[in-house]
């Protein structure tokens, strides 16, 4: 009824190729943004920020990054945790070496540093593919974690190998450190996520994104039609690592505030982000959000229901979390191998025809 293309006339090419061709979707998009920017910051408290919103926003950026590499360019990567660590440690070194520079620049430069490291580790992708590439990125994961544990310069020779985020300001509002308000931390993450998602969306639907998808679908054919695999693959690694580096920097500086590399950026983190994009949907920006939301919110929701509402013992709930999340992952992958994004797509198809499906 209200969800349809009919009657929504496009008169320019620009309008014709917009992200949301349906009017209702455009309104919904603005409504989501309005709620996120104009409503949530006024009601958010410490608990909701640290338990739900900030991890969701940061993991979304990481998932978008990995989705560019794995979902759009078809290069499987298990090095996400290591690349997030590069972002975090770059941010720490920058924050302590240049305390007068604004944290926003530090986060962006950390992304740049990670992009360079990612591109270097992407070099083997020109020769090896599939599982073998996954193993090469796995090596990156272990090497980077080992490096940040081993070389004391990265953690400024602190006795424990921990890195701690000092207090930094945007304007005169603290966004890192213990005195930062929930809304400030939330807003800076939201701004970064919005910008990253816009960049990612526009990269993936433009010429660059098409070369990535051509490589993903069949690299030899892509080469024949004139795609330079060196350029396309390295670019995918660099862009993907940029986003992952930004998320790692924010994960350390804004979300946790103190990080231990082996614990925070271990192999589990690589798998977590990979599961996010598989559950959310490979090759979809929306899927990155959906996957991050699924894996961040579900454990918290299960805990709230199990411990606070039903009063079960905490260890029981925590074991059940593993069971339930595992079962849900299997259920989704069997019922919908293309992830939550595909469910969303199907729902939209159905909605277009509703209420006269025939």
């Amino acid at each position: 009824m209200f969800y349809r293309e009919a009657g929504d006339f496009k008169t320019t090419y620009q309008e014709d190729s917009q992200t949301f061709p349906i009017k209702f979707d455009r309104w919904r998009y603005w409504a989501v943004l309005a709620v996120a920017y104009l409503f949530i910051p006024f009601v958010i408290n410490d608990y909701w920020a640290s338990a739900v919103f900030i991890p969701f926003l940061i993991y979304s950026i990481a998932a978008i990054g990995l989705n560019i590499l794995t979902g759009y360019c078809g290069q499987v990567s298990l090095g996400t945790g290591g690349f997030m660590a590069v972002g975090a440690f770059a941010c720490y070194k920058l924050m302590t070496a240049f305390p007068d520079v604004n944290i926003i620049f530090h986060i962006i430069i950390s992304g740049g540093v990670t992009a360079a490291v990612g591109a270097a580790f992407g070099l083997p992708s020109l020769r090896i593919k599939g599982f073998y590439l996954a193993v090469a990125t796995l090596a990156a994961q272990f090497f980077l974690v080992w490096l940040f544990n081993k070389v004391a310069w990265f953690y400024n020779y602190s006795a424990s190998g921990q890195i701690n985020a000092p207090e930094r300001f945007v304007g005169n509002v603290a966004v890192t450190g213990p005195n930062a308000d929930a809304w400030a931390k939330y807003l800076i993450c939201l701004v970064f996520l919005t910008v990253c998602a816009l960049i990612a969306r526009n990269l993936t639907r433009g010429a660059i994104g098409r070369t990535w998808m051509a490589i993903r679908d069949m690299d030899i054919a892509a080469e024949i039609i004139g795609v330079n695999p060196l350029r396309a693959k390295l670019m995918a690694f660099a862009v993907s690592s940029f986003f992952i580096g930004v998320s790692g920097a924010m994960f350390f500086a804004i979300y946790l505030g103190a990080v231990e590399v082996g614990e925070a950026f271990g192999i589990q983190k690589s798998f977590l982000v990979l599961f996010m994009i598989i559950i959310g949907g490979l090759g979809s920006i929306f899927g990155s959000f959906a996957g991050a939301a699924f894996l961040v919110i579900l454990p918290v929701a299960l805990k709230l229901v199990g411990v606070d509402l039903l009063g079960f013992p905490t260890d029981l709930v925590s074991h059940f979390q593993l069971v339930i999340i595992g079962a849900l992952i299997m259920f989704f992958l069997i019922k919908e191998p293309h992830g939550l994004a595909q469910l969303w797509r199907l729902a939209k198809e159905k909605l277009r025809l509703w209420p006269f499906p025939y």
């Binding site: 338990a51 006795a159 424990s160 103190a258 013992p313």
Partner: protein, 428 residues
């Protein structure tokens, strides 16, 4: 129908979330799952059982009931932060996270929120300097004390000289395991022993290469900073390479029953430090059995009573309860705030007579806390595992650490922290 159900659910959630009034809220950031659960479970059982005992026997502390809020962290910092944020709104008085990683997260947060943090024998060692870390307490002992106590014990074994000896440190590759390195390095320079550092990555199940290295380099002593599953594996590996167990010494987080029993008779003779004495006959255990376990309120399955880490958890709860009682008497109110508890902890004095009175005579050393010293006196005993009888036997009385070595390090690290965070040292 569905809407009705949803509304009912929402209502119950708000009701459940509404804070209960006028009681002492003690969050227990426990971990009963994951690779560190073997240590986390008995500690948490002891911690909760003691507060439940106070509720059942004495009607709480100073007439005020204690409410425990348990939250499962799985020894994971992200979950630890979630637990902290979810419990602090309930009026939490004191945090005891039992994880050095989570402690590092919580030091700035708890300081900003003005809630005391008690990291008993773990966490950031330099928190002993109370002028810089106003809200953090790590009495009765810390890691650098432990390192020094170990070396002092070995000095005693070797007639006062460790010159030319080779000592290996097997450590958990995390903030926890790295803490003693600096102290041991200083001690090695001072006493002329050679120090080998062998890191074991989380969770610690894979230690073949480290023990192969030990087998090759044949150190005189192996010290260990391990936790969770890492301890059991290390003891087993040491047995596998035939390392003499009496030369293998763990710190106080590597010396519980569950760490040595999997290796069976091969673990006989393994030594570890302890900051509390173990005595399953303490009258307080009988009270816990009677008032808590027999009433069906045991925190766990009730099987851990009297064990090393259960005793330590109970000891931690006793120190917290004494701090609360002290705060109540200072401020003359029974329903204290976290800030008042901090005052109580800062002027805490634990005497042998008081411990006797509480039914746990000699469980810990007598010590007192002051603004400049949040760390207690750092005493530790050395205990040895007797596999035949299946129990730990204390070999020594309390050994004093070498404050001349640890204090300058504490001052240096605390000064660095103060500079990093723009703190002007001072008492509150």
């Amino acid at each position: 129908m569905t809407l009705k159900k949803l509304a009912a659910l929402a209502l119950t959630t708000t009701l459940a979330a509404a804070p209960a009034v006028a009681d002492l809220v003690i969050p227990d950031l426990s971990y009963r799952t994951g690779p560190y659960a073997a240590g986390g479970t008995p500690f948490s059982d002891g911690y909760q059982d003691y507060f439940n005992l106070l509720n059942a026997r004495d009607g709480g502390i100073g007439g005020e009931a204690v409410r425990i809020v348990e939250c499962e962290t799985g020894y994971n910092t992200e979950k630890g932060v979630e637990c902290y944020e979810s419990t602090k709104g309930e009026g939490a008085l004191i945090y005891q996270p039992l994880s050095t990683g989570i402690t590092y997260q919580l030091i700035p947060k708890a300081t900003a929120d003005q809630i005391p943090l008690h990291t008993m024998g773990y966490g950031r060692t330099s928190a002993a300097k109370g002028e810089v870390f106003n809200w953090v307490f790590n009495y009765p002992a810390n890691y650098w004390d432990a390192a020094s106590v170990m070396v002092n014990y070995l000095l005693g074994e070797n007639g006062g000289s460790l010159d030319g000896k080779k000592i290996a440190l097997v450590y958990h590759n995390s903030a926890y395991g790295k803490e003693p390195i600096r102290t041991l390095e200083n001690l090695s320079a001072q006493h002329g022993f050679k120090l080998d550092l062998l890191a074991v990555d989380h969770p610690g199940q894979e230690q073949k290469s480290q023990w192969l290295q030990i087998r090759r380099s044949r150190p005189d002593y192996v010290l260990m900073w391990g936790w969770g599953v890492m301890n059991q594996v290390a003891v087993q590996e040491a047995a596998n390479i035939g390392f003499p167990m009496e030369n293998f010494i763990g710190n106080w987080w590597s010396g519980a029953e569950h760490d040595v029993t999997p290796a069976g008779a091969a673990a006989n003779g393994y030594k570890s430090l302890n900051m509390n004495r173990i005595n399953a006959e303490l009258p307080v255990f009988a009270d816990i059995k009677k008032h808590v376990h027999d009433a069906g309120n045991a925190a766990g399955d009730g099987s851990n009573i009297g064990k090393v880490l259960y005793t330590r958890g109970m000891y931690a709860a006793m120190l917290a309860a004494e701090g609360i009682a002290n705060a109540q008497s200072i401020h003359g109110v029974s329903d204290i705030t976290p800030a008042q508890l901090r005052d109580g902890m800062e002027s805490l004095e634990i005497t042998n007579a008081r411990m006797e009175e509480l039914g746990m005579g000699g469980v810990g050393p007598a010590f007192s806390v002051s603004c400049s010293d949040h760390g207690g006196n750092g005493l530790g005993i050395v205990q040895q595992w007797n596999a035949g009888e299946g129990k730990w036997v204390a070999l020594t009385d309390y050994i004093t650490p070498d404050d001349a070595v640890t204090q300058p390090l504490i001052d240096e690290d605390a000064a660095a922290f103060a500079a990093e965070n723009n703190i002007t040292p001072g008492c509150l």
